[in-house]
């Protein structure tokens, strides 16, 4: 071990300084014990960067360990930059979803853009060529000018970054709910493709191998960004805007091409993104994975500002940088590849035998930790969990007794209200700002049940979708966790894909509050149950805690990113009706369940009741039956029945593609014993609407798999509109009217109403 002395000008280590670094007194004692002395300021910064929640998962790790992570297709499970699964023909898919919530809450454009940049790097550092982006977004109500500003800024940030890098943004979801006022969620998912033998891991190896800093220069931006993401958002957060990094997609594109070329060149042994907590976390994690020592000299890191201290260089979150371990003697070849792409690479350290993590500034040692203690000694907490009273009370509400509004006597009114509700309405305003067709693989782009990309050189395709209904999770986290998985699985199955594996991004409030940790623990349990039932292991994930604004926690939102595989291109299936005269079949059943529904939220402003039941065996059978029918060639279209219920799903089937609209004649008389609104707008799980020219065969396949199924109508000409007979009533409305409600709602709001960065008093932030 070397002697480590404070640098001249270092502040004194006081309890206040320790607190400012987000470390508790007991964590500080842990550091002292690990070092056998008081840490220097630089060391304190390093530990604070690694032991914050965002990097260390200290509150979540014990719970996450319960998730199933293994399966025949899994090549790389949790612990790397991204998960990797085999899809056949020697092709593998690397994918991961990650949050950028806090930065986006105060600087939506850059926050979202750098979220895209970070997740792209996580995927291409595995050796995979990024082929698709998805994003899962949550905002408060669009009635607020601030929320319109956040929505517009986030969408533009995602678009500008992904478009420039040239990776198509193909799917996602956007939900608007007052629960996200002041704390939007921005989760970005990246999907990459590689040959199985091209996989590279971020594991430092080979004593004497040089460590290089590659890509952009290091500046003072984003210092402590990861710690910022590990605290509640508050009035003071606005003052932390400088902790938000600034993205440069052009450099990212060069870095992407250079990195893939480097990986294929054989001159390097490991590569890792300098993401959250920058150089510190990338170097410490690579060393810990390889079980070797490393030494880093901060004076050799290319910087773009003068006078940067080791502390600043280590903690900077400047974007578009990579840490590379090259083979000794191959430095020049590495430099040449980067030079081709107008990038630089500097040797800043090396892999050493001595089991230490050492940082020097020239010859002076400014920080040193024994072995991989920095990573392995990180505390883990099991905190109390207890369901909140509010959740129990909400779940207990008898929502079936909710008095109808006068307007509801005309079910058409309710239907049009729901279609225009921003959570249900077409998100085309947003996704039209994303290049969804570059790289010419997008068979089904945004707006379908799931995106479908063909895999060039094979007869296969992959299907991708993100999903989560936070209202369900609020009301019953275990059921909500299950539904997030099964809904995303149904979505990919509707395109003809068998669900293969998931990534997740678990967005919750402050875990030290027992009611929040209860939500987290139960939601993870629900995800676990569903993943086991569907045989879709979790390959990699991300946890975002502290999603709180002064008005309270967000809905607990465990977003699932689902990957499915379509084994033959002929099986690719779309969600909208295809042929006049086809029978419309409902797979699954209607129930009397309105709890947690979009109907209650939009029409009655209420969140209550139990979420719809989720029968995992039925979900599995449903997917089996659906895929069997698709493979038999008897399915013309398939659409998941979810937000807004059966009436909304049928409406989407006739007009979601506005240039090929149809009509539908529906009879739901079979469920006349149930309340009309539950039949039309209830969100019973386990349902898919199929159109078919051979309905008998669909019914036969369903019966054989134990799935209830029934013909509920016929596809008609567009001029016939939408006709639904239910509860002794006839709901009849023109397709064009339905389409206008659905397609024009968000453009009308966004193009007409002003946006404002100002935080409104009604959001309670300044009160």
């Amino acid at each position: 071990m070397s002697e480590v002395l404070p640098r001249p000008g270092d502040p004194e280590i006081t309890p206040a300084l320790v607190r400012e670094h987000g470390l508790t007194q007991s964590e500080f004692e842990r550091i002292r014990n690990m070092l056998g002395r008081t840490p220097t300021f630089t060391e304190l910064g390093i530990v604070s960067a690694l032991w914050n929640e965002h990097c260390s998962y200290k509150h979540s790790r014990n719970t996450l360990r319960t998730l199933p992570t293994e399966g025949a297709a899994v090549i790389q499970g949790p612990g790397e930059n991204a998960g990797v699964v085999a899809i056949g023909d020697g092709v593998a898919i690397a994918f991961k979803i990650e949050s950028h919530n806090h930065p986006s809450a105060i600087e939506p454009y850059q926050g979202a853009a750098t979220g895209v940049g970070g997740i792209l790097r996580d995927v291409f550092t595995m050796g995979a060529r990024p082929i698709a982006m998805l994003n899962s977004l949550r905002f408060g109500s669009l009635d607020s000018a601030r929320n319109r500003y956040l929505f517009a800024g986030v969408v533009k940030g995602i678009g500008d970054y992904g478009n420039s890098v040239g990776v198509p943004t193909v799917a996602g979801e956007i939900v608007f709910d007052p629960a996200y006022d002041g704390n939007p969620l921005v989760n970005a998912m990246c999907v990459g493709m590689l040959r199985e033998d091209e996989l590279i891991r971020a594991k430092a190896e080979g004593i004497g191998n040089p460590i290089l800093c590659v890509g952009a220069r290091t500046g003072r931006d984003g210092i402590h960004g990861a710690s910022f993401a590990s605290e509640d958002l508050s009035e003071a957060s606005e003052a932390k805007r400088p902790r938000v990094q600034v993205g440069d997609p052009f450099t990212e594109k060069l870095l992407l091409e250079a990195s893939l070329e480097l990986i294929r060149s054989g001159h390097i042994v490991a590569i890792q993104d300098m993401g959250a907590a920058g150089l510190t976390s990338s170097s410490a994690e690579m060393a810990a994975r390889g079980d070797v020592g490393v030494t880093i000299d901060t004076s050799r890191v290319p910087v773009r500002e003068t006078g940067m201290t080791p502390y600043e260089i280590l903690l900077s979150e400047s974007q578009e940088r990579m840490l590379v371990v090259a083979l000794a003697g191959h430095e020049q070849q590495v430099r040449e590849i980067l030079f081709k792409w107008d990038l630089t690479a500097e040797v800043i350290g090396k892999v050493i035998e001595e089991p230490v993590y050492r940082v020097t500034e020239g010859d002076r040692v400014v920080a040193e930790f024994p072995g991989s203690a920095l990573v392995t000694e990180c505390p883990r907490y099991d905190v109390p969990a207890e369901e909140g009273r509010e959740a129990i009370a909400r779940r207990g509400i008898d929502v079936g007794a909710t008095e109808e509004r006068a307007e509801e006597s005309d079910a058409t009114w309710t239907l049009l209200q729901l279609l225009a509700a921003p959570t249900i309405a077409s998100k085309r305003w947003a996704y039209q700002q994303y290049d969804s067709t570059v790289r010419t693989n997008t068979v089904i782009g945004p707006g379908g049940d799931a995106a479908v990309l063909r895999i060039r050189g094979t007869n296969r395709a992959i299907a991708l979708k993100t999903d989560c209904n936070g209202r369900y999770v609020t009301l019953d986290p275990r059921v909500g966790g299950r539904i997030a998985v099964v809904e995303s699985a149904r979505n990919v199955a509707c395109t003809g894909a068998r669900p293969l594996a998931i990534t997740n991004c678990l967005n919750f409030g402050n875990p030290t509050r027992p009611e929040v940790f209860f939500q987290f623990r139960e939601a993870v349990a629900g995800i676990r149950e569903a993943c086991i039932a569907l045989d879709t292991p979790v390959t990699v994930g991300n946890v975002s805690f502290y999603n709180e604004s002064p008005t309270g926690s967000v809905h607990p939102t465990p977003v699932i990113g689902m990957l499915g595989v379509i084994d033959s291109l002929e099986h690719i299936t779309r969600s909208t009706f295809r042929n006049v005269g086809d029978a419309i079949v409902l797979l699954g059943d209607c129930t009397d369940e309105l709890g947690g529904s979009e109907y209650l939220a939009t029409i009655h402003g209420a969140i209550g009741g139990a979420p719809p039941a989720c029968d995992l065996e039925h979900e599995r059978n449903l997917i089996t039956a659906l895929l069997e029918a698709i493979r038999a060639g008897v399915v013309a279209s398939a659409h998941d029945c979810s937000d807004g219920g059966l009436a909304i799903a049928v409406a989407e089937c006739i007009m979601a593609e506005r240039n090929s609209m149809l009509g539908a004649d529906i009879d739901l008389g079979a469920w006349d014993s149930l309340p009309l609104r539950a039949v039309l707008f209830g969100e019973a799980q386990g349902r898919v609407i199929v159109s078919s020219g051979a309905a008998d065969q669909v019914l036969e396949i369903a019966a054989r798999n134990g799935v209830p199924a029934r013909i509920i109508g016929t596809v008609t000409e567009v001029g016939e509109g939408l006709a639904i007979r239910a509860g002794g009533k006839l709901l009849k409305v023109g397709t064009e009217q339905v389409a206008a409600a659905y397609h024009e709602s968000i453009p009308r709001i966004m193009d007409a109403a002003p946006q404002s960065a100002a935080i409104e008093e009604t959001e309670g932030v300044t009160v």
Partner: protein, 230 residues
């Protein structure tokens, strides 16, 4: 016929153009690196879409100084075909191969969707496989696609039949509603005065494979195959 696709730093449509030429129409295709000076005996040069140099300064403004542009300009001066798509169209305007400029979309937003455009000139080496008035479905994906030029230039382009494509309704009618980016006269693509350089904002290379929904862009490639320069 040999196709050469130029890769600038920040190009991202090079891959799609390569596959359209190589896979969809089965012709020999090579990538050309922007720092090189060698067109590798290619018959057709494609300036592809993307964000060359990150669109910094102005789309296309820096790429036109890339070394290979000397050879591309010379190739065009010889009357050999240059197909300039999206960012390539912007580069071609900056390089003086085509008149006018591409401004920020009127909506001020990036737009990615399938549009319809009408074939206005069906006799050029890029369009002779189409018929005049034919309506094509074709993807656009750009933030700066609003074609503009001074009124004399526009009058010449219109008068000399050098407007190759114009945004239109699915029925082929022209209106501001169907003008996806606010271009002057709804112009989607233009030819140079010799007719051997085509600049267009829509992406024919993304409309060349049946599985992707439309093959209406194939005509551009097939037209070129019909016989290169005299």
């Amino acid at each position: 016929m040999k196709f050469g696709i130029v890769t600038f730093p920040g190009s991202n449509g090079d891959y799609d153009a390569f596959h359209a030429a190589a896979d969809a129409i089965g012709e020999e295709s090579v990538y050309l690196w922007h720092k090189d000076h060698d067109l590798k005996d290619c018959d057709v040069i494609i300036l592809p879409g993307g964000f060359s140099y990150g669109d910094y300064l102005r789309p296309g403004a820096i790429a036109r100084f890339s070394p290979i542009m000397n050879e591309v300009v010379a190739h065009a001066r010889r009357g050999a075909p240059v197909l300039a798509i999206c960012n390539g169209f912007q580069v071609a305007c900056e390089a003086g191969l085509l008149p006018g400029a591409l401004l920020r979309n009127a909506s001020l937003r990036f737009v990615s969707r399938v549009v319809t455009m009408r074939v206005e000139n069906a006799s050029s080496m890029f369009t002779r496989e189409y018929f005049k008035g034919q309506v094509l479905s074709i993807p656009v994906a750009h933030g700066d696609g609003r074609y503009t030029a001074d009124s004399d230039v526009i009058a010449r382009l219109e008068g000399e039949g050098r407007v190759a494509f114009r945004y239109c309704s699915p029925a082929g009618t022209i209106s501001s509603e169907d003008n996806v980016n606010g271009a002057v006269n709804g112009i989607a693509g233009i030819l140079n005065d010799a007719g051997n350089v085509l600049g267009m904002m829509p992406h024919p290379e993304r409309a060349a494979d049946p599985i992707l929904g439309t093959t209406d862009g194939l005509g551009v490639f097939h037209s070129l195959l019909g016989g290169v320069i005299a």
